[in-house]
């Protein structure tokens, strides 16, 4: 059954959606999670809960998603196919659904060699597209990948990701087309810092009719410093930060770089609001999560629509 989550309703009504990222703690300190998450309440429509992002061990995304639900924040459960085979993925999806989690974002995940356990065996039993199609089959037909039926009616809103900043745009848009064809209803992108390249990608997606078949939520990023930007550039696969942005940050003294990073992010959001085919923004603020409410306010995205 299709889920009617807050995010789904906002997108369906044509409101400009706002999501952001939350990386679970490396540990079990849930109190600080509750404190940190509280500031997002009423500011964003849903919060992505990373699944061992960059192949680094964190609290499981389904557990933190449930904790967010408990404090009144709607989670988007990220599930990567890197660490679990189809048995474990389906099992965790059923568990997450039983816990009331309804937004699910399907990804392949960064390679283990980029993470904090580089000796680990990568699973990659299935890829993101095969997983999207499995999630859709579980939801719409009540059947596991092996065709066996399940009890209950999981309600799910299915998402996927895309990187517009790639060498061969057509090749990557074909992959996006397959994600949408497999059942992805919303797409979150890598952070947009190069509007021209983003528009090229979006144009290609529109040409294939994809902007009408799914909700595209453009990623934006708040860079806290030149050092952080350099770190992301060299360590996060697929992260594209143009030299013009580096120069703009670098022109500021260290204690003003965060402010400039926030300004850049707000400008990006303002620009993206004007782009046809963009249905919302997904804010990443790595290392400066506490600035997310400020960004949302400055980008005039408040108050959030109340659809409850």
């Amino acid at each position: 059954m299709k889920a009617e989550t807050n995010l789904q309703k906002i997108l369906a009504r044509g409101e400009f959606a706002v999501t952001c990222e939350y990386n679970p703690p490396r540990g079990t300190d849930v109190d600080s999670v509750r404190r940190n998450a509280a500031q997002l309440k009423g500011k964003v429509d849903a919060v992505n809960v990373n699944d061992n992002t960059n192949a680094r061990v964190r609290m499981s995304s389904w557990a933190l998603s449930r904790i967010l639900l408990d404090v009144g924040i709607e989670p988007i459960l990220q599930m990567v196919t890197r660490d679990r085979n189809r048995i474990a993925l389906q099992s965790d999806l059923l568990g997450a659904s039983a816990l009331g989690i309804q937004n699910v974002l399907c990804l392949t995940g960064d390679h283990p060699s980029k993470g904090d356990h580089p000796e680990a065996k990568g699973v990659f039993d299935i890829d993101a597209i095969q997983w999207i199609s499995a999630v859709k089959q579980i939801r719409d037909q009540g059947l596991l990948m092996n065709g066996k039926d399940i009890s209950g009616n999981p309600k799910l809103f299915i998402g996927a990701v895309a990187n517009p900043f790639v060498q061969s745009v057509e090749l990557h848009v074909i992959r996006l087309q397959k994600k949408v064809g497999a059942g992805a209803e919303f797409i979150q992108t890598q952070p947009v810092l190069d509007m021209e390249r983003f528009k090229t990608w979006l144009g290609e997606a529109a040409q294939r009719g994809l902007t009408d078949k799914c909700f595209i939520i453009a990623g934006v990023i708040a860079l806290s410093s030149v050092a952080m930007a350099q770190h992301l550039r060299s360590n996060v696969p697929g992260m594209m930060i143009p030299d013009t942005i580096m120069d703009r940050l670098g022109a500021q003294p260290e204690d003003r770089q965060l402010e400039e990073g926030v300004n850049i992010c707000v400008e990006c959001i303002e620009a993206l609001k004007q782009v046809k085919g963009v249905k919302g923004v997904h804010i990443m603020a790595i290392g400066c999560e506490e600035n997310i409410p400020e960004i949302i306010e400055k980008a005039k995205l408040l108050p959030r629509p109340d659809l409850s």
């Binding site: 390679h111 060699s113 597209i129 990701v161 990187n163 790639v166 990557h172 074909i174 992959r175 890598q190």
Partner: protein, 224 residues
């Protein structure tokens, strides 16, 4: 072919510690072609180990022998006479790991040691450089991908296109590795078959791979 490389000398020395009369066996198959386990490599490695052991004040006798192939029990049986005659403590095989396993099966009381790391199935890219081309999944699908294998040559084994970590045609794990999906794309462009990449490939049946347990092929027409 099967590509292998020497284990580090230090690891080999630890492995043969306590053994004083050793037979080192090379293989004239794949590992000769990739310069890892032929008679030349046996001679070089045996000499290096003898010198190292002499320096440790623990001299060792290492006899050398190279078989046509070590992946045939028939060739392994050629070792019976020298083993009988020389009372070796251990045999170091410089074949892929099939060699030491066949030796272990053929000589019940003999210590069988791998002298090579069996690396992968692949080919020579240029002199001194080898790359992996096949993961032996047991059910070849490369006709869908312009004849290139994404299961082996994509770090994530993706069957439906490149991941978002592919930058400038390079793999996210190492910029020295081509993103095979870019190669597939270029190849499909040349074949005029880019549209074929729009077909979604379903979840692979891995039961024909090692995931299904050790594999065996029986050809009824050839069995006696």
């Amino acid at each position: 072919m099967i590509i292998g490389e020497h284990k580090p000398i230090r690891e080999l020395l630890a492995m043969i510690d306590g053994y004083n009369n050793i037979l080192m066996v090379g293989c004239k198959g794949c590992v000769t072609v990739c310069n890892a386990g032929g008679s030349k490599e046996v001679a070089i490695l045996a000499a290096a180990l003898r010198i190292a052991r002499r320096k440790q004040d623990k001299p060792v006798t290492i006899d050398e022998f190279t078989l046509d192939r070590q992946c045939e029990p028939e060739f392994i049986s050629w070792l019976e006479d020298p083993v009988e005659k020389n009372k070796y403590d251990a045999i170091v095989s410089l074949a892929c790991s099939i060699g030491p396993q066949y030796i272990a099966e053929a000589f019940e009381t003999m210590v069988a040691l791998p002298g090579l790391n069996t690396s992968f199935m692949g080919g020579t890219v240029e002199h001194g450089i080898w790359e992996e081309y096949c993961a032996a999944c047991g059910s070849c699908v490369i006709h869908n991908f312009g004849g290139l294998c994404p299961i082996t040559r994509c770090a994530k084994g993706l069957l439906n296109g490149p991941c978002g970590g592919s930058v400038d045609g390079r793999c996210e794990i190492n910029e020295d590795i081509d993103c095979v999906w870019e190669l597939i794309y270029r190849r499909m462009q040349k074949l005029g078959q880019v549209h074929r990449l729009e077909e979604s490939i379903g979840a692979k049946d891995w039961s024909t791979s090692l995931s299904g347990g050790p594999r065996r092929i029986i050809r009824e027409d050839l069995t006696v």
